[in-house]
Symmetry: none
């Protein structure tokens, strides 16, 4: 199964709502099960450098079917996947990339959020991934 | 002046409406005055290869402040700008990239549409650029 | 607001003056509010590898609206933004990239300096950002 | 011999003067004998897409020690160097890239101009290459 545009829009809408509540300016990207960009939104005055990071977070999460923050633990110096970020035209491995699953638990896409602290990025992404229906 | 997210969303909404009327599956990208991605939407089952093309069309239009199809006339073999597409990490110079202007005529961004014939791509982009308010 | 060429030239002139005082050979880049290159100058016999670094420092500062050195603290192993440098076609996150603001405090561009120690790079960039009028 | 920063600045100054006389908004790049960027200037509101084109024109001219327009004749379909633009991370082979020579005729650098018609680009580049002392 693949995320629909309607679901992707809902996820972005949820992320926008959460970001506004928290007073944050976010870049938000959704990719589908094929790791291809489905929807993207940049809030007014959000960081320009976070366009690419939001997209890379969403892709990275789907590339390895895990949250970007989990991958980041493994890519530290001395760890098993050190510098995996060099693959796939660049990965982002700190928090803010979260999988989107359907009701059966199957991965149908992923969302990446960038524009604030990694904690805020992760919170907004998680909220959106849980409220896209 | 720079396009706002609200205006970019309206442009994409207009493009979606027009595409649905015509029975088309489009990728739609909006960039701001700095040629940075502001919003993107891919309709269900739209061509995957058109993600990048839609984004490049929007950027190309803003890069040179002209419709992509106009630039394409000049980049043909023997014409003044042959192979200009090799610049800027890749341009797309066939129709479907259109400028977005404010009421005073100032360029505030651009829209790129890809997913059908270049005529349809151009029609949808033009409609959206005229109906984003 | 966007930096003007006149302001960018003044910033580079200030950077050249400061560099000459310190006996340094610098590469100096200025980008506008859209992170697009506005002006660049390489002093005679300055490092060739610093052309790209100066440009990337200026872009990085504007991408995230902070000095490159601040971002670099966050991108160390174990820190929140480890390996963020893989985004945006390559970032530079050590000192030498500084924001340029107008009198109201709005960011209108950024300057990147590379060619000496990071302390000297930072000093020259800061001086220029404070003396571009 | 290599172009000095002073000479590069003079070339850009000449290009700015000529562009202003003609009412044009240009991007102007100068590279040295090693094809490395020495100086760059973008006039206010000049095309964003011409940043990269001006730099590539200057590099292309020096890469092959000929004007870009000359190379462009050879890169047309059926000609000897068809699609040479794919090399060197992208070449630009239409007019506007001109060699800068010292008084003995030795090539010391090149200038690339982009922002108007190729005729205007070429005129400004030629003027600057002849008036950099």
């Amino acid at each position: 199964m693949n995320i629909t545009l309607k679901q992707a829009q809902n996820a972005i809408e949820a992320a926008l709502t959460k970001s506004s509540e928290l007073g944050l300016k976010m870049n938000i990207a959704v990719v589908d099960a094929g790791a291809n960009l489905t929807a993207f939104t940049r809030m007014d005055n959000a960081w320009l450098g976070s366009i690419d990071i939001a997209i890379k977070k969403a892709k990275t999460a789907r590339f390895f079917n895990m949250e970007t923050g989990e991958l980041g633990k493994l890519s530290q110096p001395g760890e098993a996947l050190f510098n995996i970020e060099h693959s796939n035209m660049g990965l982002i491995t700190f928090p803010g990339g979260v999988l989107i699953k359907d009701s059966s638990g199957e991965v149908i896409g992923a969302i990446g959020v960038s524009g604030s602290s990694v904690e805020n990025d992760q919170d907004v992404a998680t909220y959106a991934a849980n409220n896209y229906k």
